[in-house]
């Protein structure tokens, strides 16, 4: 299958190459028949267009607010650049685009909208939450059943759907006023202040909850797998803060970690 393998590599390179008339297309053209009014490169171009269209559509659906802020043409151009340097490594197109925010950060032509990478991060978090595993809420009473002697080893987990996002821009507001069904004012004051958010799903209900400093700090610590022993030292108000976060649904489970002492 060596011949087949070579042909497939050549074809993929011709389809993904930035230059529609470059070497990759010329090489692949030699293996493609010219037919009824279409030259070999024109046959390849049909696939180049189809593939580019697929990536544009996929990221456009995943990042609708980013697209709205940039306009479709600009957005599509950006996707074209992104897809050439970011191969898709999964047969599931829904896995594609996790690094889009980082790409935007380095994308000079979009530098005029400094909040854009965080908007994209929010949209990726939303996308993740939408199809994350279903979970039932944690019952706070279950915690009291853990023997006192084991409590120091407790480790807590955020919902599988949850992402934490900190931004120096009011990204939740930007996101909100750019929703299709938004009917209020679209004005956002960028000095409105920073945002600290948890994006997650409660049942089938998609949520973006703003967090206070102490909530943010605790939930961040939990993502670092900090055990109860350390949490109690770092958070003097643990006795109220923890149940408070459980009640909101931001903590979905706990387990016992290794005993270190």
């Amino acid at each position: 299958m060596q011949r087949l393998n070579q042909l497939q590599h050549r074809l993929r390179e011709a389809i993904m190459a930035a230059d529609a008339d470059g070497t990759a297309v010329r090489v692949a053209s030699k293996t493609v028949n010219a037919t009824r009014g279409l030259s070999s490169p024109e046959h390849l171009r049909i696939y180049r267009r189809a593939v580019t269209g697929t990536f544009k559509r996929a990221l456009g659906q995943l990042y609708p607010v980013t697209m709205r802020l940039l306009g479709q043409q600009f957005f599509d151009g950006m996707v074209c650049r992104y897809m050439r340097i970011t191969p898709s490594l999964s047969p599931d197109l829904a896995d594609y685009g996790s690094s889009f925010a980082e790409f935007i950060e380095g994308f000079e032509p979009a530098a005029g909208l400094p909040y854009l990478p965080d908007v994209a991060r929010l949209e990726w978090a939303w996308h993740r939450a939408f199809s994350a595993a279903d979970e039932t809420a944690l019952n706070i009473d279950a915690l009291s059943e853990v023997p006192e002697s084991d409590r120091a080893r407790l480790l807590f987990a955020l919902p599988a759907s949850a992402s934490l996002l900190a931004s120096q821009y009011p990204v939740q507001r930007i996101w909100q006023v750019n929703q299709e069904d938004w009917s209020g004012s679209e004005e956002v004051n960028l000095d409105e202040g920073a945002a600290r958010l948890i994006i997650w799903r409660r049942g089938y209900d998609m949520r973006i909850d703003p967090l206070h400093d102490s909530e943010w700090s605790l939930l961040s610590a939990l993502t670092q797998n900090m055990p109860m022993r350390k949490l109690s030292q770092s958070f003097p108000d643990m006795a109220t803060l923890l149940p408070h976060c459980v009640e909101h649904g931001w903590i979905a489970g706990f387990k016992l970690g290794e005993s270190t002492d």
Binding site: M1, R3, Q8, Y47, V51, S88, L89, D92, A132, E135
Partner: protein, 279 residues
């Protein structure tokens, strides 16, 4: 799974699209079955799966995918196949299908169905792959003829012969896409009936119908329109030979109201009924 109707799939079904899910659950239109796009349900949870569960409790389904990359020279993606298998275990489709094509090489996916060269080398390769997939899934799969927009200089046989050989040698079933056969015949300049003459009829378990777009100098398979008259004609010729094989209306872009799809399915059903009466 006692609540699920254990009906065999027959008649003209519709491709299930997410924007119609709720309406289907609420109104329960009289459609004999739905085809589900496997890749739309690879998430771990969420509303999409929950709604599919409801649809599945009302209707029989089939699973149709584009992710197997059967023709690729890469190793098979068993992570993908495992996800597909667990989806099939959960939703009990009557069958699972994918395409005679490849979508990846070197571990990189282009997410578009690319044609195989019709050579002995490619034939041997893809037959071995289908064998492996059928073993892994523990079921016979259906392979669909894709629409293509190029042919290779090193072809050793026509595409309809290649398609037939793949089915016979790997002992898989066939999903015959009438629209794709029509599009290819027009794009590559052969008689669409060549496909019919080559089809191993007993293996054809499903037929696809869809709309194409006429572009400058070729037909493009958009799945975004009503079925065109010449495709209806080719469909009639097909079912005269195969008998009333379950038929699916595929619509993927510019998706219209459910009613439009139901109307297309009814047209197909009328043709199927005519064939069963005369048989």
């Amino acid at each position: 799974m006692s609540e699920r109707a254990d009906v065999q799939i027959r008649g003209a079904g519709i491709g299930l699209r997410s924007q119609h899910q709720q309406e289907i659950i609420d109104r329960q239109p009289s459609v004999p079955w739905f085809e589900v796009l496997s890749e739309n349900y690879y998430g771990a949870g969420g509303t999409a799966l929950a709604k599919l569960e409801k649809v599945r409790n009302l209707y029989p389904i089939t699973l149709h995918g584009v992710g197997m990359s059967l023709g690729s020279t890469d190793p098979l993606n068993f992570e993908y196949l495992a996800r597909l298998k667990s989806l099939a275990d959960r939703f009990e489709p009557e069958w699972v299908s994918d395409h005679l094509a490849w979508i990846s090489v070197g571990g990189e996916y282009v997410h578009d169905l690319l044609p195989l060269p019709c050579t002995q080398e490619a034939l041997d390769h893809v037959v071995a792959r289908i064998d492996q997939v059928q073993d892994f899934l523990g079921r016979r799969i259906l392979i669909e003829n894709p629409s293509t927009y190029l042919s290779y200089t090193d072809a050793e046989m026509p595409e309809w012969e290649f398609f037939r050989e793949v089915a016979e040698l790997s002992d898989c079933d066939i999903l015959f896409d009438v629209n794709n056969a029509y599009v290819n015949a027009s794009n590559h300049g052969f008689a669409a009936t060549s496909y019919l003459d080559a089809l191993p009829l007993a293996r054809v378990r499903e037929i696809h119908l869809a709309g194409f777009a006429q572009l400058d100098s070729y037909l493009f398979d958009t799945h975004g329109d009503r079925i065109h008259p010449p495709v209806w004609e080719l469909y009639q010729l097909t079912i005269q030979r195969t008998g009333p094989v379950p038929t699916l209306i595929e619509w993927d872009t510019n998706i219209p109201d459910l009613g439009v799809l139901v109307a297309e399915a009814e047209k197909a059903q009328a043709q199927l009924d005519a064939v069963s009466c005369s048989a």
